[in-house]
């Protein structure tokens, strides 16, 4: 029994009929073709599917599309502002915070939630906040540095 949903994704309104069993991540990837959000596991562990729902980092593999009805969603494709990269996106490039790139969108979305609530996290807080995001390439070394770099940039941005 298909259900009508209405969501705003990266500022654009969408109306779709979806099966209740359709996971939000599959809705984003297969229906809206926003393929920057990835699927890396089936146990809500790896965090590759992390997006923001109403401003909060969430694993989109653990939400049904119907549950997101009426919500505002932001994905990695919506992080840049009018073509200007988000400071976290810049930082991941600057600090070599990615290698294969598969975990990167989820990593950036989680880090963005962290910095929203804790603009000056220490190393331990960053590592703890990223517990729900797996990376197999970087040993997390440069990911942590990327988040620190972005935090500093964002702070400078505010002070200017």
């Amino acid at each position: 029994m298909a259900t009508q949903i209405r969501v705003k994704v990266n500022g654009i309104d969408y109306n779709n009929q979806v099966e209740p069993r359709l996971l939000l991540v599959h809705y984003l990837r297969d229906v809206l073709r926003l393929t920057g959000t990835h699927v890396g596991c089936d146990t809500s562990s790896c965090g590759a599917c992390t997006i923001h729902i109403n401003g909060k980092a969430t694993k989109s593999c653990t939400i049904l599309a119907v549950q997101a009805n009426g919500c505002e969603i932001k994905t990695i494709e919506g992080m840049a502002d009018n073509g200007k990269l988000h400071p976290l996106q810049e930082a991941f490039k600057e600090c070599h915070g990615l290698q294969c790139g598969f975990c990167t969108p989820g990593m950036i979305m989680t880090a963005a939630d962290l910095l929203e609530h804790n603009p000056e996290p220490n190393e331990e807080e960053i590592r703890y906040a990223l517990e729900g995001n797996f990376c197999r390439c970087t040993g997390y070394q440069n990911i942590v540095k990327s988040v620190q770099f972005a935090a500093n940039k964002m702070k400078e941005g505010v002070n200017v």
Binding site: S45, C46, A80, F92, H96, Y128, G139
Partner: protein
């Protein structure tokens, strides 16, 4: 050669990042083809079972089902082949049972594919797969390599006695080694398991195959490290397809770590099926499937003995290993525990007598093959564990024991390298240099003092060493051919200068995180004296790139980069001819520097872009000068490259719980010349993390019924951000003497060195607390460490 524009050696930010940070990467599962169908598999829930019947009746009638195929449908199709022939000691060929695309008679590991369902949607394929009723008769199974090789063990393949795929040995005659061990003043013995680990690239394997009936051609998208080899194996050995009618594309690949080198049954089956149904078929593994079907790594049961004379000089090394191959031979399953393992057991030491003996055993488990490091971590683990244990037993400092036994420094220039007892000739090395630097970075003496005080706080502090060497830049075709490889291991690099001076580079190496689009562009731009933005690296598509042997064994820069260099030299030489013609001088009078072709001793010159345009607008060329500026080269190395290094771990062990916390990790790696230090550091970071993962967190756990009891991220412990401190990286550069870039390779170094360093550190902590423990089985979970202290 010309001077460069300084791009080599700089931490240039990565070109490929732009797409990845903005969600514009294109991985296999991102691709949906017109008229797409989706596949789902029915897989055996048993490790060993007769398949009595497969009932498709209900599934066939379910919504959206397009086709269902079982083992009977592909009975006449060949299985996927193994790429390396290892012989028994008596010269007999290894046993190579068929690895069918779908099993018809028997399932031989949990996850063995029994049927494929193809439907209009992923959900419908899943629904129908669950409606297929397979009747099994469960049979006894064997999981452990040692037990599998004992008489009476349940057979994986009826025609393979004792489940023995091969037995194999390398080194000095065993009698000589036995004698040297017997006459040693001290012998350190270690019996241990190098446990099975599961690679877990975060992108699950995926493929999408399509057939064009109009011209009888195929396109296979697959998340592979190795698209050309997949095409070759699939066309020539499995499906019998004309290779020129098959295009294999590996677009962005989300990590490989070895597990995406191999030709998997799903690739061939989807390619077979797409023609049958006339529509594209896509399959993406779930993580649960990845756990059961991605080739696993390691899994050795080993006894190793090292002899010393009264002065602590190594006298002999004797190794007996049972290597678990899983249920079938994977593409490189046979060479990993033999030629990539046995050849490295001499390590950095002058040990005069060595014998390594390996039995390859089939078991009812997922096939085992290369996992980051592939054989070399196993060699390093046994050797470096022996050295630290010997130091404890003989009550000498583990660093001192190493200094005493290192091969002295040599640069390999104008002299042969160092010939080991186990076939390899090391290219160049300064082994004591990396250990000295590591000790300095660590502040070794102060740390030993701290160790004495740590116990007061309920903690034990431990320091563990590992000084390793690896054979990379795989490999000289003649050498590997003589050792059983069924392919050459050269690489292809094409440099095409476009008429406007922009440069397209086609490489047979494949980047799945290594940053080739940056590193290779740095080399080409540097050597041609042009901006990096003018260079584009193309890889991963058999239609664009002439040929390739893929990326594994830390070979991309040493072999793939060298192939590109050969073409760059050809471009420069041809450019000189064109410039000479334009400047009306002899080509011998032209020198190339910083993007300019100049008449020696004059200020007369012509730029690279001008020469490029002239090459394609040859209005007044002499008859012997061909138009165009486009060269392709094959580079076949003359030797392996031998990166080496020193890893030191500092751990804290909680006396009450056994919990281990990694406090520091120092790594001094010598990977030869470095093109992009930022990328090399990143490779070391990731490798170290995976090696620590094996030591402390990861390991496949099978129960006696052959069920993988930790086949999900809720049970298999993936290392996370809060499991690591910041690693402390040092470096040393001993150039490789035999390739044009002087590079050795950095992809696996971290994994190879780190595992024994961490385990040695934990044991050192225990010894410091009075627990004289020889071994704890990896991963060193809190409970295992706690038990060792009881």
């Amino acid at each position: 050669m010309s001077t460069t524009n300084g791009l080599i050696g700089r931490s240039v930010k990565r070109v490929e990042d732009k797409r990845f940070i903005s969600g514009k990467g294109r991985y296999t599962d991102d691709i949906i083809l017109p008229n797409q169908t989706y596949a789902s598999f029915v897989r055996s829930p048993y490790a060993h079972a007769k398949i009595l019947s497969v009932d498709l009746a209900e599934a066939k009638g379910m919504p959206g089902v397009v086709a269902i195929f079982t083992g009977a449908d592909v009975a006449d199709v060949n299985g996927v082949p193994c790429g390396w022939q290892v012989n028994f000691k008596n010269g007999d060929l290894m046993k190579e049972p068929k690895h069918p695309l779908l099993v018809a008679d028997k399932a031989r590991h949990v996850g063995d594919a029994v049927a494929i369902v193809i439907a209009e949607s992923k959900a419908q394929a899943d629904d129908a797969a669950r409606a297929i009723d397979v009747e099994y008769e469960e049979l006894p199974c064997v999981i452990d390599a040692f037990k599998g090789a004992q008489p009476g063990a349940s057979l994986v393949h009826d025609d393979v006695p004792n489940n023995m795929c091969f037995d194999w040995a390398l080194g000095n005659p065993i009698a000589e080694v036995d004698e040297a061990i017997a006459s040693s003043a001290h012998v350190t013995t270690l019996e241990f398991v190098n446990q099975r680990v599961i690679p877990n690239a975060i992108e699950p394997r995926a493929c999408n195959s399509s057939f064009d009936a109009g011209n009888d051609s195929y396109v296979l998208y697959t998340s592979s490290q190795n698209p050309h080899l997949i095409r070759l194996l699939m066309c020539a050995f499995v499906l019998g397809l004309p290779e020129h009618k098959v295009r294999v594309v590996s677009p962005d690949v989300g990590g490989g770590f070895g597990s995406k080198i191999f030709h998997y049954t799903e690739e061939a089956l989807l390619t077979w099926a797409t023609k049958k149904i006339g529509r594209p078929v896509k399959w993406t593994a779930t993580r649960s499937e990845s756990f059961l079907t991605d080739a696993h790594g390691r899994d050795h049961v080993t006894k190793a003995e090292m002899g010393f004379d009264k002065d602590g000089k190594m006298t002999a090394l004797r190794i007996k290993t049972f290597a678990n191959l899983g249920a079938y031979l994977s593409t490189f399953g046979s060479c990993v525990p033999t030629y990539l393992h046995g050849t490295l057991v001499q390590g950095l030491y002058t040990t005069p007598k060595i014998n390594v003996d390996v039995t390859g055993v089939f078991t009812h488990t997922t096939p085992v093959d290369a996992y980051r490091g592939a054989g070399r971590p196993e060699a390093t683990y046994l050797l470096e564990r022996l050295v630290d244990l010997a130091a404890h037993e003989m009550n000498v400092d583990p660093a001192e024991l190493r200094f005493k036994n290192f091969i002295p420094p040599f640069d390999g220039i104008g002299q042969p390298g160092y010939q080991t007892q186990v076939a390899l000739q090391y290219d160049s090395g300064n082994y004591e240099g990396v250990l000295k630097k590591g000790l300095e970075m660590l502040g070794y003496d102060a740390l030993r003092k701290e160790q004495k005080d740590a116990s007061k706080n309920g903690k034990l502090l431990g320091i563990g060493f590992s000084t390793y060497i690896e054979a990379c830049g795989i490999a000289p075709s003649a050498v590997v051919g003589s050792l059983g490889a069924r392919a050459g291991l050269y690489e292809v690099g094409q440099v095409r200068v476009q008429p406007t001076g922009k440069v397209s580079v086609y490489t047979g190496s494949h980047s799945h995180g290594q940053g080739h689009e940056t590193t290779f562009a740095q080399i080409v731009a540097d050597k041609l004296g042009i901006p990096m933005e003018d260079v584009e690296i193309v890889h991963g598509d058999s239609e664009s790139v002439a040929f390739g042997m893929g990326t594994y064994g830390s070979r991309s820069l040493a072999v793939g980069g060298s192939a590109i260099m050969k073409s760059v030299y050809k471009i420069i030489e041809k450019g000189k001819l064109i410039a000479a013609h334009k400047l009306e001088v002899s080509a011998d009078d032209i020198e190339f520097e910083s993007g300019k072709f100049t008449v020696k001793g004059t200020d007369k010159s012509v730029g690279f872009v001008d020469v490029a345009l002239t090459a394609y607008v040859p209005h007044v060329f002499p008859p012997d000068l061909e138009p165009g500026l486009d060269f392709s080269s094959f580079y076949d190395p003359t030797n392996f490259t031998y990166p080496f290094g020193c890893h030191i771990a500092v751990v804290e062990v909680d006396k009450e719980t056994g919990k281990v916390v990694l406090k520091r990790f120092v790594a001094v790696d010598d990977v030869g010349n470095i093109i992009n230090p930022m990328i090399v550091d990143g490779q070391i970071h990731g490798g170290v993390a995976q090696g620590i993962g094996q030591a402390l967190f990861e390991g496949a756990e099978y129960d006696e019924n052959g069920q993988l009891t930790n086949g999900s991220y809720m049970d298999y412990c993936m290392p996370r951000a809060d499991d690591f401190p910041m690693f402390e990286l040092g470096g040393q550069v001993t150039p490789c003497p035999h390739n044009p870039l002087g590079v050795k390779g950095a992809g696996e170094a971290g994994t190879i060195g780190s595992t024994p360093a961490v385990v040695n550190a934990v044991l050192d902590a225990l010894w410091s607390g009075g627990h004289e423990v020889k071994d704890i089985r990896m991963p060193l979970t809190a409970e295992r460490v706690w038990r060792a202290m009881q």
